[in-house]
Structures are given as C-alpha cells and as structure tokens.
C-alpha cells in the first residue's frame, strides 16, 4: 500500500515517540518574525538555553513594519521596540535576519519561497497560522505558538501529533475572472471553518496541477481558515521549475539529487486517505465573503443564505455576521459599496497577483472616496513590479504604492480601517476588528475583484466587465 506525503515526511523527521504519545519531530526550516518571537527568546534566556541550530532559522519583519516610511525609529515606539528586539535577538544568536536593509525583507510566507528556503520534503514551522503557504511546495508546513517557537529554537524539534489527511480533488476549468483565491474560498465555504480540524489538506487533481506556484501558495495559505493546520500540494515539474536558480536552492549535481528526493516524497498513486472530497470548479464564480469568517463566502451574484437554512453550528456566526456587516438575507454582494481597496498580504501579495490587478486597472480610475492601495508582499516583488511598470499603472489609477509588509491584513501597523469603513481586501480574514477598527467590515475576494471594486466604488462581478 502506498503512502501519502505526510507519512513520508513524518517518517523522515520523527525522532521518537514522547511519553505523552506525541511524536518529537525534527524541523528542517524555522521562520520567525517580530511579533511571535521576542517572548520565545526571553524564555530561552530565562531557562539559560542556547539556539541549537541557528543556521536553520531565518527571520524577517513584516507584521508591524510601516508601509509608508520606514525611517527609524518608527513613529510607534512599541513597533520600534519589537523591531529592535528582533534585530538584537537574531544578532545575538547568529540567525540570518532579512530586515529592510537586506533588500530581501517581506512577508515571511512570501520571502521563504522566493529565496528558495522553502523546499519540498521539509518540515517548516513559523509562529504564524498561515505557514501552510509553504505546503504548496510539498513541504509539511504549519503554524505554531510562541512556546513552540522556543522549543524549536532550543532543540530544533517540537512535540506534535501526526494529522489525518483529507485529499481535496479539484477538477474542471476556471472561467475567466475566477482565480485560485476563489477555489480556496469555495473549499472553506463547503467544508466549513472547522471542517479541517485534525486534518492536513492535500490539494490535488487536474485543476490544482494546472496552477502556477504562486496560485498554489494562495490555495495552501488559507488552509487554516478551513480549520486545517496543514495544507499541501505534491511537488511536480512546476515546483522544480519555480525553485531552480533561487538563492538557497542547490545547483549542479546537488540539484539533481534534490529533484530525485523531491519526486520521491510526493504521495503515491495508491496512497490511502482518511477522507476524500471532490470539487468541480467548472461553474465556480468569483467568491466574496458576506460575513465575519472566511467560510461565509458566496458567488458574487448569489444571495446571502437564510440563517435558518444553515446547519445549526453555522447559525450563531451567520446571525452575528449579518448584524456586524449590516446585510440582509437574500441580498447579493454585487453592488455593496466599499470605502477601502487593499491588494497585498501573504495570500495575494505576489507578483502574479499584482500583474492581474494592474492588467485590469490599465486606463481606469479608482472611484471617488475610495482609499485604494497596493502593498507588495516583499521587497523583491516590489522591485520586480517596478521593473514591469506596474507601480505606474497602479498610481495612474489612483492606488497608493507602498513598501512590503503585512499592512492592513491585520491591525498591527499604521494601516487600519477607520470607524465602520467597508474594505474590499485580497487578504485572508474578515473577523470582526481584524483590519484595525472594531466596527470595520471586510469583504474577502481575489486581487482582480478588489481592483474592479476599487474602480466601481462597489463590489462588481468581474466576469461582466
């Protein structure tokens, strides 16, 4: 009987079974950022422990970093203190830090892949729930808490139970204007925000195989929004082509050995899964959220469901969602006015996302009264976009062009919603207060749908334009 990728990676990395029954798992790549690491370093100091393998940890700054001016010290003294902590800790323990001066700074889940740090067959952890992004390469990648960040720093291992695996087979052809973001929003809407509890999601099938690496990252990125801590796609030629020539990827004879290994860890054709779910995307529509969790998403021209028609466990959040958003059952998202348009984040801040949005925006103008801005996912994405002249297209359309960071995906830096503003956002969470205002409202959608909403001043169906 064949094995799936989780079994194969788990076997390679398992050190032993701990008395609790969990396994001790060796960690190949540890990524850290300024928000969830300072307390971990403080705990190390408290216990008088060293960093076991500093060469396996890489750091950047993304959550708190301002996207307008990065002049130091930051205007926000709390953010400045966090930045100083990550600089000091990485220096003290000999950890590579991709800060702004390195030219390689960016959102942690964007720079890992673009530097080639992220590779198939690895265990990859980060104190951030969107770590499953790296699973797009066929890695076992998952988010951890700060105490576990400390565990990994101190031992290069962590205690973990092996997840079950649900294969999500996606078939069919995406219509024009429908993107990888819409696939994952649909999967979450179908399986629920806690449907993935205890599972790793293996995204497979002809549609997934046909996606670019950047699109695959968008899909894996939001696994946690469906309750799955892990999401991955088996490595294939698309994966290898993306990786070739990147900074931390082996070359020459080592490249051939690497590819041989990477091929070997893909799920076997006769692997057994704990569950299989099939999604046909032939008629998939651009998806937009209407509520306060990412599972509350519908096709842009579909009616908001009646709360009473939903399964019992969804009704509480649906009721609260309608109240917070000020929407009614039966309304469609098409036509909902917006105040803010955001393109960026670890979900949709890559060069292909920016190209899609810019292509649409050529010769168009953002509607009056809409604050529209683009935040490249990394400094490298920014440089590439500028090389292609995308920044000029965005600016001519009335979008602001910013420096790389997490920005308004979460309210930790100067980019925030104000009052009860409604935002069309290419990010990953529409939780109440997520974008920095307790009464703010977030509509999740693809980058090109955000661009279209910015121009119209309201949610529109990109397929009709």
């Amino acid at each position: 009987m064949g094995k799936h990728l989780v079994d194969k990676i788990w076997e390679l990395h398992k050190v032993k079974t701990l008395p609790s029954g969990q396994d001790q798992i060796a960690i190949g790549l540890h990524l850290i950022h300024e928000v969830t690491s300072p307390q971990a370093f403080a705990m190390l100091k408290e216990y008088n422990m060293a960093v076991k393998h500093p060469e396996r940890t890489f750091a950047t700054a993304d959550h708190i970093i301002p996207t307008e001016s990065r002049a130091r010290p930051f205007a926000d003294s709390l953010a400045e203190a966090m930045m100083e902590a990550v600089e000091k800790n990485t220096k003290e323990y000999g950890i590579t830090f991709f800060g702004p001066e390195s030219g390689l700074q960016g959102v942690v889940h964007i720079i890992g892949p673009e530097l080639g740090l992220t590779q198939p067959g690895m265990t990859i952890v980060c104190g951030d729930s969107h770590t499953a992004t790296h699973g797009a390469f066929g890695a076992l990648a998952f988010g951890i808490g700060t105490s576990q960040v400390r565990d990994v720093l101190a031992t290069q291992t962590m205690a973990m139970g092996k997840p079950k695996v649900r294969k999500i087979e996606v078939k069919g052809k995406l219509s024009r204007g429908v993107t990888a973001k819409d696939i994952i929003l649909k999967i979450i809407a179908e399986l629920g925000v806690n449907g993935g509890l205890g599972y790793a999601y293996e995204y497979a099938g002809e549609t997934i195989e046909g996606l670019s690496m950047e699109e695959r990252m968008t899909v894996c990125n939001m696994s946690i929004e469906g309750g799955a801590r892990f999401g991955y796609i088996n490595p294939d030629q698309t994966t290898f082509d993306y990786l070739k020539g990147r900074k931390y990827v082996p070359s020459g004879a080592a490249w051939d050995k690497a590819v041989e290994f990477w091929k070997s860890i893909a799920s076997d054709a006769d692997a057994q899964y704990d569950d299989i779910y099939t999604l046909d995307v032939n008629n998939l529509k651009p998806m937009v959220t209407w509520g306060i969790n990412p599972g509350q998403a519908i096709g842009v021209d579909e009616p908001i469901p009646e709360t009473a028609s939903l399964p019992g466990e969804y009704q509480d959040s649906a009721g609260k969602g309608l109240i917070h958003m000020g929407f009614k059952e039966g309304e469609t998202m098409e036509g909902k006015k917006i105040d803010v348009a955001f393109i960026g984040s670890c979900t949709n801040g890559r060069i292909s996302d920016l190209r899609d949005a810019a292509e649409f925006l050529k010769g168009k103008r953002v509607a009056e009264g809409v604050w529209a801005f683009v935040v490249p996912g990394s400094n490298s994405v920014k440089i590439q976009a500028e090389k292609e002249g995308l920044d000029k297209i965005f600016e001519a359309a009335g979008f602001q062009w910013r420096e790389a960071g997490c920005s308004i995906c979460l309210g930790m830096n100067p980019d925030k919603l104000v009052g009860n503003q409604m935002s069309a956002s290419s990010s990953n969470r529409n939780f109440i207060g997520r974008q920095g205002s307790p009464t703010g409202k977030t509509l999740l959608m693809s980058p090109v749908m955000v661009a279209a909403a910015a121009v119209a001043g309201k949610v529109v169906d990109i397929r009709k334009l």
């Binding site: 398992k14 050190v15 032993k16 701990l18 008395p19 609790s20 029954g21 001790q24 060796a26 190949g28 928000v35 969830t36 300072p38 307390q39 403080a42 705990m43 216990y47 709390l78 953010a79 203190a81 902590a85 590779q119 067959g121 104190g127 729930s129 770590t131 951890i144 808490g145 700060t146 105490s147 576990q148 400390r150 565990d151 031992t155 291992t157 962590m158 205690a159 139970g161 925000v193 806690n194 509890l197 946690i224 309750g227 801590r229 080592a254 490249w255 690497a258 969790n293 969804y314 509480d316 959040s317 979460l410 309210g411 930790m412 969470r429 939780f431 207060g433 997520r434 920095g436 307790p438």
Partner: protein, 204 residues
C-alpha cells in the same frame, strides 16, 4: 520540572459563560495589543473590543460583570480560538485569571497553545455546555470541578464527560506540558535524525 506543582490533575473554581461559535483569536486579543515584547501586560486586554466601546466605556459582556469576577473557568461553544496562531490569546486569558477552558470544540493551534501553557482545554457536548451555562448563570458562585483523571466535569451534583487530545491530557497530568524539557532529553537522537535528512547538507 515534573513536580507536583505543575501536575494538572484537578482544576476547580467558578465558571463564566462567554457564548458564541467561532470566537477567533483576533477577538480574544486584538492585534494592536500584541505590539509588545512580553506577554506580561496582556490580561487586561482580553476580549477588549467586545468588552469596551471605542471611548473605553464598558459594554454588556459577561467578563465585565462583577458576579463573574472570580471565575477561573471559561465556558464557550464551537471552534473556540480559531484563526491566528497567536499564543497571546491563551496568554491573555491566563493572565486575566483563567485556569481552564470548556467548549464544544477548540481550534487546533489554540488547543495546542493551551496545552503547552498547562491550561486544560476540554470539549463537551452542546447539551453539556447549555446545562453548565444554565447552572452558572443561575448561581455564579457554583463550584465547577474538572477532573483530568476521570475526564469529567462536576457541577451541582451532575457529572459531564469531556474529551481532549490524549497527549495533552497525559502531559497535563504528568506535569510535562512545558515540552522543552522533554524535547531536550533526546539530543543524540535529534542530531542523528537531523543529519540523516536528505537536505541536511544541501544535497551535497
């Protein structure tokens, strides 16, 4: 470290019911309060935006009610702690005064974070949450006892069984929930595993 002080065998105290499904960690600790390099001051910001208006006046919320001020066990519904992996969430709740959580279900990363902090997060049926909530709301001072040995919750003469990942329960009972000490014991095996990884030396 596995001394009796850290063995979590029985948690008792008072409960408070914070109703709702899908209570996410952004709600438990809004991101703006995570601009810090220590968890120490987080307690007062737990559930801040659902407890306070923009002008800092209190809203109606169980955690603002004096009768629940002594509660150390939080009761809630489905998918508690979903969203961001921020350990700031259980850290804030711990510092607010909670020693344990009872809910219909927990998000996985949140449950793992609780286990690592020695905070039992136990799941019970919806009917049990409703029953416990009714008892607590009727008599806020009523005693709630969580027995990790028996996998039960006792309240007002009634006993409810709970579930939780067995590995979490074992590490709580044995006082080995602070994983770093357990992980450090196996240094030689760790190094052997790491050096056996095909990518350990860049495939050279």
């Amino acid at each position: 470290m596995a001394n009796d002080d850290v063995k979590k065998i029985r948690i008792e105290g008072r409960g408070v019911y914070v109703p709702g499904d899908d209570i996410d960690t952004d709600q438990i600790i809004p991101a703006r309060f995570m601009r810090c390099v220590t968890f120490d001051g987080l307690g007062k910001y737990a559930f801040y935006d659902v407890r306070f208006n923009a002008d800092e006046t209190p809203k109606e919320h169980p955690l603002n009610e004096e009768i629940y001020a002594a509660a150390n066990i939080l009761l809630s519904n489905n998918n508690f702690g979903c969203g961001s992996s921020r350990e700031h969430a259980p850290q804030a709740l711990k510092r607010f005064g909670f020693d344990a959580f009872i809910a219909e279900s927990f998000a996985e990363i949140f449950a793992g974070n609780c286990a690592t902090l020695g905070l039992p997060a136990v799941s019970v049926k919806k009917s049990a949450v409703e029953n416990l909530a009714a008892k607590i709301q009727k008599s806020p001072q009523i005693k709630v006892v969580i027995s990790l040995m028996d996998k039960t919750i006792e309240c007002d003469g009634e006993i409810f069984s709970f579930t939780m990942p067995e590995s979490h329960r074992q590490s709580l009972i044995n006082g080995t929930w602070d994983t770093v000490f357990e992980l450090q014991k196996n240094d030689a095996e760790v190094e052997a595993t790491l050096s056996s990884l095909p990518y350990s030396k860049g495939f050279k």
